[in-house]
């Protein structure tokens, strides 16, 4: 082939203080392909792309765009070179319309009207060309995340980008939205655009890319054709050792009913009914997985059970009815009643990011008698306890004095799990246990959850990752619009059937 690569990086190195974020990285991305870059959190993917987009300057190495050596000192230069970036966290003005967001920073003159007219025409053309339908007059705050992402893509195309970089684009999307995104990317590819897809999800790489480069600890460990590799091989390249992608577990041996939920209803602060009378039970020694597209009431379910939100109905734990509205409906009373809770958002709820790891081990359990000496807290005892827990849960670095925010996502999650699981609860609530967690840690976290089940504890698992639900759960219930659509055994169902139920079709219709 004689065509020059759309992008070629040679010998890129970048260090932050003592940390070598990128080490001598070379990569060729051919035009008209979808090139995946996969690696664990902190492998250096984002740094590399930031160099390409002009946020950082490489210490060493060169960038070639379409065969030409190009300096990219800032993002304007990147845009001029035809590179567009879609960030993980969108950079949109919430109370502007789609159209206004698209021209923001690319206005033609002091008056807005001509720019808006031009943009409207072009947007219509782009929409037709790439099947990127968005209402140009809708406010950003009124459209869903999937749509917002399209606006980001349109912004890049409007600036005549030939190369699109997408950083973890599916992190905020539902499975259906992710599928739509991949269709759009495919379409863009057919029209000759070059796409770089950064992700840590193996499935997306296998589904969407032509070529994939693997990064580990700042180095590019391999570049392979997607059709010639397997998820297993990629996982090993990412982590550097063999990984179990499936969860290894024996059949469940359910015992007594631990959690009984009858006709639970939850109304949110805006008066919208988020849970519309659901009933289910979880027995000792089993994992009940709640599958569903985010926003269908599963978060509220965890919050009611965890004492963060009020509800109506009847909930019994170990046969005892628990308070849903009164003085004993707070999280502390729940913990005393044997419920432990690993929240969906560990950074917002599960941890105090500015607290040290040992302080976080006491979080929610600061009234434990073992942590007190008279009127004061026994920091020595907490620290000792924390050191043991952090060691047993393989938190790395095993340093209690680091603040929670300086741990990686996986290790933060291990701190939360260590705190909650080691309390030996009768019922464990787990929300999104492996969101934003790297593969190596996923394996460990899954093992811990199964181990707790095998000790005869009840576990309620909420996850938007269908794969995780299917491999961890002993029973799967599907939630849609605040109602349970039905229950399946993982062995008797598949992603397709669950997907239909998640879209609101009851078991009988499928």
């Amino acid at each position: 082939m004689t065509t020059a690569p759309a992008i070629e990086l040679t010998g890129i190195s970048k260090a932050f203080g003592p940390v070598q974020a990128n080490k001598d990285i070379s990569i060729r991305v051919m035009p008209g392909t979808i090139h995946g870059i996969i690696g664990e959190n902190g492998a250096g993917k984002s740094t590399l792309m930031s160099i390409l987009y002009g946020f950082y300057k490489a210490d060493k190495g060169d960038i070639f765009i379409a065969g030409e050596k190009t300096a990219i000192p800032d993002s304007q230069a990147a845009i001029a070179a035809g590179i567009g970036m879609v960030f993980q966290h969108f950079k949109l003005v919430e109370n502007f319309t789609v159209l206004e967001n698209v021209i923001l920073g690319a206005e033609d003159g002091a008056l807005l009207a001509p720019s808006l007219r031009k943009a409207r025409k072009e947007l219509t053309a782009l929409a037709a060309e790439y099947e990127l339908n968005v209402d140009p007059d809708a406010l950003i705050q009124d459209i869903g995340v999937g749509m917002q992402q399209r606006v980001e893509i349109l912004k890049a195309l409007y600036r005549q980008a030939d190369i699109l970089i997408l950083d973890e684009p599916t992190g905020v999307l539902t499975p259906a939205e992710a599928d739509q995104l991949f269709r759009i990317l495919q379409r863009l590819k057919e029209e000759g655009k070059t796409i770089i897809l950064i992700t840590h999800k193996l499935r997306e790489i296998m589904e969407a890319t032509d070529t994939v480069s693997v990064m580990r600890r700042g180095e590019m460990t391999a570049t392979v054709k997607t059709s010639e590799t397997s998820p297993q091989e990629l996982a090993e390249l990412m982590v550097g050792r063999k990984v179990l992608l499936r969860v290894d577990k024996t059949p469940a041996q359910p015992g007594e009913k631990v959690l009984e939920v009858e006709n639970l209803k939850v109304v949110d602060s805006k008066g919208v009914e988020r849970i519309k009378g659901i009933s289910f039970e979880v027995r000792a020694g089993e994992i009940l997985g709640i599958a569903g597209v985010a926003g269908n009431g599963q978060s509220e379910l965890l919050e009611v059970l965890g004492g963060i939100r009020r509800g109506t109905g009847t909930i019994r734990v170990n046969g005892q009815e628990i308070d849903l509205t009164g003085k004993l409906s707070d999280a502390r009373s729940r913990r005393k009643g044997g419920i432990a809770h690993v929240p969906e958002d560990r950074q917002r709820e599960g941890l105090i990011m500015d607290f040290k790891a040992w302080e976080n081990i006491a979080f929610g359990y600061d009234d434990d008698d073992a942590y007190q000496t008279g009127l004061l807290m026994n920091n020595t005892a907490i620290r000792e306890d924390a050191e043991g827990k952090i060691e047993r849960f393989d938190v790395r670095p095993a340093n209690c004095d680091l603040e929670a925010k300086s741990f990686s996502g996986g290790n933060q999650q291990k701190i939360v799990l260590a705190r909650e699981i080691e309390r030996d609860p009768d019922l464990l609530l787990v929300g999104q246990p492996t969101r934003g967690v790297d593969i190596g840690a996923i394996e460990f976290i899954h093992q811990q959850i199964v181990a707790l089940r095998d000790k005869g504890k009840a576990i309620l698992l909420v996850s938007v990752e269908l794969e995780e639900i299917l491999s961890l759960s002993d029973r799967v219930a599907v939630i849609f619009d605040g109602q349970l659509m039905g229950e399946r055994l993982p062995a008797d169902t598949d992603e397709k059937e669950l997907g239909l139920m998640m879209a609101g079709m009851t078991g009988e219709e499928t």
């Binding site: 502390r332 709820e349 105090i352 302080e359 004061l376 807290m377």
Partner: protein, 364 residues
């Protein structure tokens, strides 16, 4: 942005801010046609050059320790208590009532009772904004500011119509009875053989202020309540997840904060004026915000920054007394220090970060 090392954040940043403020101040002195070096040396010697100067510096510092701690405690819970002024004023009322109407056998018992009363009045004055914030979501910054005005009006009414002795012309209470007079720092130090100027307002309350520093340290970093307070301050959703009651934390924290501000009154009302006058707080409630900011909401930092502001007050007074530098300029200098060490803290920090972190990168 990269993080500064802790020592730089705690020492270098405030110091650089201070130096910048002084450079600018000296330029202003120069612009008014005076000799900046002479002014500076007069300020320093006036505040710290004699035990007489120290007597005033420490008196002001005592006020600022209390109000600084008050702001800091609330700050750890992410609550911005701007009502120190009003809470201290109400504390003064608490001191006055206890001192005027109960015959005390000895100053030490009077001090104890007055402290309790001052703290209680301050706490109650902070309770209302706290309750409104916790239960109704009324923003505490707005309500505490408003309560400063209400406190001023309330004191005006009480002093003019209730506590003013018959026939007196100024809105103030009668002189407190002699048994409530607190020993001055001069008396105490001379008693143990250390020479110290008499007739300065610094008094035994300084020791109470030091005790308050210890109390706040233990409260914030050693008690379960302090743990919950800090957790709540860092992340409210996380606090709710952990089962920490936001209403309880908000109300109790603000009451402790108000009590600390109220305690200031035993220094200025009981220790110095020995009667309650109108406007006795003299802005110390607001200075407390700058003191807490500069002291990084830590008792030791607050101790030092309170001393600095105390010295600035005293040095400024000397400047106004002995030179023709207009009094307003002294206020400008004080304002510059507050501006640079408090409000422009982040600007100074990024300057320091540039100098400290850049060379390191080049090495790597």
């Amino acid at each position: 942005m990269e993080q500064l090392p802790k020592w730089a954040d705690l020492v270098v940043v405030p110091l650089v801010g201070l130096i910048l403020a002084f450079i600018l101040s000296m330029l202003m002195v120069l612009a008014t046609g005076h000799d900046p070096m002479e002014a500076l040396s007069l300020m320093v010697s006036g505040a710290l050059g004699s035990t007489y100067g120290w007597g005033y510096t420490l008196y002001y510092a005592t006020n600022f320790i209390f109000t600084g701690l008050a702001v800091a405690v609330a700050f750890h819970a992410s609550l911005f208590n701007i009502g120190g002024e009003g809470q201290a004023a109400l504390g003064g009322l608490g001191v006055a009532l206890v001192s005027l109407f109960i015959p005390w056998p000895h100053w030490s018992i009077a001090l104890l009772a007055a402290s309790v009363s001052a703290g209680l009045f301050g706490a109650l004055w902070a309770f209302i904004p706290a309750y409104l914030q916790a239960k109704r979501g009324s923003h505490i910054v707005i309500t505490t500011i408003m309560f400063n005005f209400i406190a001023a009006s309330l004191l005006n009414y009480v002093l003019v119509n209730q506590l003013r002795p018959k026939g007196a012309m100024d809105p103030a209470t009668a002189k407190f009875p002699v048994p409530t007079h607190l020993p001055s720092l001069g008396e105490i130090l001379n008693g143990v053989g250390i020479p110290f100027a008499k007739g300065t307002p610094a008094n035994v309350t300084l020791l109470v202020a030091l005790l308050a520093c210890v109390f706040v340290y233990i409260l914030i970093w050693r008690t379960r309540f302090g743990y919950q307070l800090r957790a709540f301050g860092k992340s409210q959703p996380a606090a709710v997840y952990a089962g920490i009651n936001p209403v309880k934390i908000t109300v109790i924290t603000m009451m402790i904060s108000g009590a600390l501000a109220g305690l200031m009154a035993i220094n200025n009302v009981m220790g110095e004026a020995e009667r309650l006058i109108l406007g006795s707080v003299e802005g110390a409630g607001f200075i407390g915000i700058a003191v807490a900011l500069m002291g990084r909401s830590h008792p030791i930092g607050i101790l030092f920054s309170a001393l600095l502001f105390g010295a600035l007050y005293q040095g400024g007074a000397e400047l106004g007394l002995w030179t023709s530098i207009p009094r307003e300029l002294v206020i400008v200098i004080q304002a510059l220090v507050i501006l640079f060490t408090g409000a422009l803290d982040n600007m100074v920090r990024s300057l320091v970060a540039k100098v400290l972190i850049r060379p390191k990168r080049a090495e790597a």
